[in-house]
Symmetry: C2
Subunit: 248 residues, 2 copies
């Protein structure tokens, strides 16, 4: 599956072109197009800032007009911060990313259009796009060009990313403890706590153990961690006996 | 409602500290803490790069150790790119943001911990955190520090943002056309197309108009746009009569 083309119209700073390329590479985009970059082309600062994405900068294509840069694209979203006062759908980055994925699923060529640092896209350029993408921000809304490309690239990648919301990195050897391992841990602990006099008075012991089980279950321990805890109980009770031996 | 504290451990470049502050301001974060910044403090490059967020840089607090920077926080997420091999929940930025919002809803103080540019967080620092946040990327995973702060800030903001996925910016005067306005447009158009001979042969006229209505409905026109279209029909038919007058 291909990915959207990133079109930067009249970009000014090579650093921002490079940062945009780096963000593209982070999120699986590759086709960079520049409309009349202010400082000419090639641009050494763009290559330096791109770091591991210098290949994207070097393969960038240069166009004289925005129309020419968009000529082969079938769906184009224009990123703008300002309201434009003409009827144009305005999408969040996530909604735009979902629609771009749909378009790519239908085999369409797409692009995302960004304006230059000083004044963004002009109305003529915005009118070429199917819809506007607006990045929601707090009252301080000034995002730099590389950051805007980063956020759109991030949403594009995320729209197809399968990473679970939560995973536990147990390492190569550990796995979540079983119910039996936890039961044995609790039995061991309860036994030692009874012997030590911690579970006192006796009519409160059951409620105390229930709270301790709740507290220890919440951590979703691994088998290795349960073994560590049991080793700690053994060591602490031995230490206690040693100390008692000394003081006796 | 307060917002998470951003803690940068051993940051190196003032530019990245400034970019982090700017990203914080974009997304409604304000409390910046630095653990042993390499180039000392204050840092002119941080203030320059922060642009409109210089106030956040100037209010940043400096700590000697990560433990001290996190001392008052009740929930801390550590951002890392590398797997750590110890059992620690790993969250996506969006899932972390949702959990941070929940914690703030419960009145808890939270923070997000970022490592320095060269080697990120060490294992000791990661072990201080409740969970790890990992930004999913394509195979090129190198995000710069300011970009990582931007993405976490963006997800924090987004988690409570009410912007609809799609809105139409009709401008101050226009509103979506009503069914009646569209019906009158279609009647006007059909009348003129019949007179002009476009809807031919007659047994195909109904299907042709159906396709035209489908095409024109898809654009979700405003009342102003419907008036413009009707004006265009009037102008075009007048033009045709004029031309006919000339050739007759």
């Amino acid at each position: 599956m291909s990915a959207p083309v990133i079109v930067l119209s009249h970009p000014q700073l090579g650093e921002n072109i490079g940062a945009a390329a780096r963000a593209m590479k982070n999120f699986g985009l590759a086709d960079l197009r520049l409309v009349a970059p202010r400082d000419g082309w090639p641009n050494e600062k763009a290559i330096a800032m791109a770091a591991g994405a210098a290949d994207i900068v070097e393969a960038a294509r240069i166009f004289e007009t925005t129309e020419a840069a968009l000529a082969d694209l079938q769906l184009v979203y224009a990123t703008t911060a300002r309201e434009r006062g003409f009827a144009k759908p305005v999408l969040t980055p996530a909604a735009a990313a979902a629609r771009l994925r749909e378009a790519h699923g239908n085999g369409h060529k797409t692009g995302i259009l960004f304006g230059g640092e000083r004044s963004g896209l002009d109305n003529q350029e915005v009118s070429l796009a199917t819809a506007i993408v607006n990045i929601p921000t707090d009252s301080f809304a000034s995002l730099n060009l590389g950051q805007a490309v980063l956020l759109l690239g991030y949403e594009w990648f995320k729209a197809a990313d399968q990473t679970p919301d939560l995973r536990i990195d147990h390492g190569p050897l550990a796995k979540p403890a079983t119910g039996e391992e936890m039961t044995h841990l609790f039995a061991h602990l309860e036994d030692e706590l009874l012997k030590s006099g911690f579970l006192y008075p006796p009519d409160k012991a059951e409620a105390m153990m229930r709270n301790i089980r709740a507290m220890l279950t919440r951590g979703e321990f691994t088998d290795q961690e349960v073994r560590t805890l049991r080793g700690m109980i053994v060591a602490l009770t031995r230490g206690k006996h040693r100390k008692q031996n000394v003081t006796e």
